[in-house]
Symmetry: C3
Subunit: 149 residues, 3 copies
């Protein structure tokens, strides 16, 4: 167990919105967008929370080094919830709709990442991704919420 | 990237408890209960965290518009972890016990949702659900924690 | 809906780091380590966030009473993502590498747990676990972030 930093007063809370449309169904890295926002916030120590306002896409922290990881993850989740209307009741919006909700339930709607010295404490190979589960990507709104000082 | 709100001072932190018993195994919407609590808190900008003190149920944000989505989700997770004692070691509490833990591991024990202008920033079709994984629902305690001003 | 506590001022924010190496692939309980850190923080009411800086391991809250639950969970996730190189593109680091990323996507990179009266509000049988997904465990860094008063 490492020594903890000295206590700080929680000074500020800021919320922003980020809208992103993935180029295609699957994993779309948004780490750069989030880092740009963090740099504009002047928070040196705090906690960033990301919240996705949709149920047919997910937020995910995963390896951003070898792109094969992303393709394998997409294949895994595609096999978990096949786009086959005979498997589901909820099919009015197309074969990819219910699988999108299932993938949404298996992954995250929100993420929290600590900030230290003004930087996100992501691991060396960690990236932040929007996982678009629909075949025709749509604009997705992410709320950014930071508290700290 | 949208413009962020001006920084605010974090003024208050409040915790509450909400106990709910689902009417049956499966998804039980609790959005209304949570909104009632939020309205009593007088927080205009902040972050709500929900924490479930159980390992055989889950918290989930999902679509609350078409109930078929909920039935399809229940079927999906039932197929993932069949209630069949020959599949597991942990069977003393019944065939539904270990599947309940597996579903608990696949979904969330906690959720965080930003609050803005006194409202939860849920998306248009997002609802908050307790997913009861046991066949005989029991009282489930959820801790509500809000920080903001 | 229970009565909420009176609002408190958010006074302090502290971050720490905890490095742990699991004894083997699978679930490794870290509740004691986290409680030790919490006790040193003098926060009576607040929120603890844990963040894992790796993509081939997970954080999980699960039952810590019957160890059979842990073995059944390990078997379930092993079957979800078999360690078989013919199934994946990303195989350079061994047969256990891509399954580790898949398990990472199915479970959590961060957890949040409320603190009340100086104690974590874990349920009676809830424990905090590091789930090591690689066959050869490595040192895993967890960021601890607490806000409260």
């Amino acid at each position: 167990m490492d020594i903890s930093a000295a206590p700080l007063y929680v000074k500020t809370l800021t919320q922003g919105r980020h809208t992103v449309t993935a180029p295609r169904q699957g994993l779309c890295e948004i780490t750069g967008d989030i880092l740009t926002w963090i740099e504009s916030q002047k928070v040196t120590t705090g906690l960033l929370t990301l919240y996705l306002r949709h149920t047919s896409a997910s937020l995910l922290i995963q390896e951003n080094y070898d792109l094969d990881v992303l393709r394998d993850l997409e294949d895994f989740f595609a096999a978990q919830a096949p786009e086959d209307t005979t498997l589901y009741r909820h099919i009015a919006e197309g074969a990819d709709d219910m699988p999108a909700h299932i993938k949404g339930a298996l992954m995250q709607t929100h993420l929290a990442i600590p900030v230290c010295d003004g930087d996100l404490l992501l691991g060396r190979y960690q990236g932040i991704f929007l996982f678009e589960h629909r075949q025709t990507p749509r604009a997705r709104e992410i709320v950014l919420h930071i508290e700290g000082q």
